[in-house]
Symmetry: C2
Subunit: 443 residues, 2 copies
């Protein structure tokens, strides 16, 4: 550990704000289950006695963000007063402290509002750590000793699939070629796909224009929202497939719209457009349902992807055990921050299932790019069937927005976890008192 962490950085204050963007006005982000999202965040700032700050967030869809803010405040007492050094010297213990409080765990455990709040707080702690080390988060992870990586993970409830020793073994084996892969990422970036072309609320004309523009910018992987109306889906998917041609990649996303049998029959009808995966075909809780769908769609060459609402490592463990998914979609704000995502990356590697992170929303691209860079450099060592979601919205509100070049995420260079927002953006979008909302409510 270098000098800056030895300076301790005692956390003396935690603030959390309810920041909302009125995205529903233009149907950005609309899907079969979330028809009018206002992309939002519970945004956390940690102040330390050294003056260094940590920034973190969890993503939400508008209404109810105030509940997550309330939950962050409930967790604040476990954070304020501690030093960064205290926390990271026993990060597993700190994770356990936040997720297993004898009174608050009843509200989860490790799921829903309380876990979203945990993610926001821990994201800020990881940001603080990376800043203290003067590195972007992915580089902090890449430079860490495998033993220290493993010491950040709570293996409770997953030892039947992954023990600490196995995790260490995976990380040790992947040391080979690490430097080469890091250099490769710095040169080429990590492959991305776009969801910006085909939200459910967009018109056909919008789809066409957006596809044309995306192809011109070098995109070759496209995701389409489906699930509201079958005939409409067929028309829209054909249109996109026609636009992008047979050699580019198409994925479809139902956002949990179907029951198991309906998912199988509906997606079978869409097989003609050759989607690589169907994302979130049914309830995020239905492990056995996803397994049944995976089995039924395998002969059609369509995989199942899920994860953005998979609430913790125990659920991912079972999705992997049951061969219920062929693409693991980690989320930087749903799981318990880097700590829990490390567990999922390691389990996915054990089962040899590719990780294709969920992003978009607000800040999700900025955050999750760090995790997938680490996955490639230090865990999976493969780009086969792998790509990270990208959505071209709201990046202008961040101090270090994600950088896309030729449809690849370019590794961030600034210290931290890339989710510091511009103070002016936070102020104007604070709910309900920011200028944007005051104007909006007047209408």
């Amino acid at each position: 550990m270098n000098k800056s962490v030895q300076m301790l950085h005692r956390i003396i204050n935690l603030t959390v704000r309810d920041v909302r963007f009125p995205t529903s006005l233009e149907q950005h982000g609309s899907d079969a289950m979330h028809t009018d999202p206002d992309y939002s965040a519970a945004y956390v700032v940690l102040d330390t006695d050294s003056g260094l700050q940590g920034f973190g967030l969890t993503f939400t869809l508008g209404k109810g963000t105030e509940i997550v803010v309330c939950a962050v405040n409930a967790l604040a007492g476990l954070v304020v007063g501690r030093s960064l050094e205290d926390i990271v010297s026993n990060f597993r213990g700190f994770y356990r402290l936040l997720t297993s409080d004898g009174q608050m765990r009843w509200l989860g455990p490790e799921k829903g509002v309380i876990h979203l709040a945990t993610a926001a707080v821990l994201n800020a702690v990881w940001d603080l750590w990376a800043r203290a080390e003067g590195k972007p988060l992915w580089k902090l992870l890449v430079d860490m000793d495998p033993k220290q990586i493993v010491s950040c993970v709570d293996f409770r409830y997953i030892t039947d699939v992954l023990t600490e020793e196995e995790a260490l073994d995976i990380l040790m084996k992947a040391q080979e070629g690490k430097q080469h892969r890091e250099d490769q990422m710095l040169n080429e970036g990590y492959p991305a796909y776009t969801t910006s072309c085909a939200w459910l609320g967009y018109s056909d004309q919008q789809l066409k224009q957006l596809c044309t523009d995306a192809l011109k910018s070098g995109w070759s992987r496209f995701k389409v929202k489906v699930g509201a109306d079958l005939e409409d889906d067929i028309r829209r998917c054909r249109l996109i497939r026609e636009m992008i041609g047979p050699n580019n990649t198409l994925m479809i996303d139902a956002n949990q719209r179907w029951d198991v049998a309906e998912a199988i029959s509906w997606v079978s009808r869409l097989a003609e457009v050759k989607p690589l995966w169907i994302e979130e075909p049914t309830s995020p809780d239905d492990i056995l349902g996803h397994a049944a769908i995976s089995k039924a769609l395998a002969p059609l060459g369509i995989g199942v992807a899920t994860g953005e609402q998979c609430h913790n490592r125990v659920m991912f463990k079972q999705l992997l055990q049951a061969s219920a998914l062929q693409f693991v979609q980690i989320d930087s704000c749903r799981l318990g921050s880097v700590n829990e995502n490390l567990a999922v990356l390691l389990m996915a590697h054990k089962f040899q299932v590719p990780v294709c992170p969920h992003a978009g929303g607000v800040g999700l691209c900025e955050l999750v790019q760090h995790l997938i860079l680490f996955d490639y450099i230090c865990v999976s060592a493969s780009l086969s069937n792998r790509m990270c979601e990208y959505v071209d919205h709201l990046h202008q509100h961040f101090t270090c927005p994600a950088v896309i070049q030729n449809a690849h995420y370019m590794p961030p260079k600034d210290p931290g976890y890339s989710c510091e927002m511009l103070e002016s953006s936070v102020k104007s979008h604070q709910f309900p008192d920011g200028d944007i909302w005051k104007q909006h409510m007047k209408k």
Copy 2:
């Protein structure tokens, strides 16, 4: 529908309060994962234009109750302004409205804080309905037409196991002998077991005295908390088995303390005291883990029970599909009220797995007794291997507390869902401003 519902009862106000009882002071409710619970509730009151009120709650463990209160307030806008008649004429639709709001479902969906809040609100709506009909809730359900029962259930995500037609068929078949079973319940009550004798924080002397007293009062089924220390568990379980003799029933409860392999080895060591079930051996999310534990313990004659933290019908569906539990422990405040519990009772019946509700806490006995009476009279028609938990705490704070006679729950006779609290109790236990807490904080 009788005249009182035709009066409409428009809901004109919803209030929610944070009510906490300092139970941690005497180690009541202590277990291997929740060492210091303060039994608490987010307590909801609905006011209508007719003057009729509805009372509901969800149970919590102290800290964080304010988060659930915040979530109830977020849901209030979907409730206030509607009439009871509107709601119950399309109760499935109303359930869907509360659980599938396009922005708020991101916070769950149907799990954690937002689902606990949904339970509190819907419990109050059911209370209001039963009061409007002048019946205790169990009797409202028992007198309902099977078609109307089914119309209260959201079958989304469970049709691969239970369709609306199958549910109707189950209810129709159970019409036979219904009157006899109702009379039987009114005479004998529903069998209960006690958890009051053996909380983890109690001394051996306390255990002995409480067992002696319970045996004298007619109790024959006893649950013991385990999981903190194996040698301690062996000593305590032997002591209780000795006290109650070989013919009474003993259950053990680990409150999620173990990983899968540890659960199997630990419980195997306790097989000598012949427990009927091991409750919550591991993470409530681990369906496949529970299945592995069930399989390993079956040769020892020990079943697996779980449910108090099983967060929705999709999880119960899978626990049943995977033969992961031998006792279904529904909870009146974790699931989405009566609506979702009906789905679970019907699925459990289809799989012929007995339902043994979770109770205790504050108000849980009062609420869940209604559901298990309905289960016996209208669904399962069996008492074999069935019993409802009872804990002898905090009943004095309710206007119509649960009545136990000879270790049986006697069917409530007052209209409603039995969770109206004494206003004096609410006032003095409100957090943080009630007298009890003001005194407590001074110390």
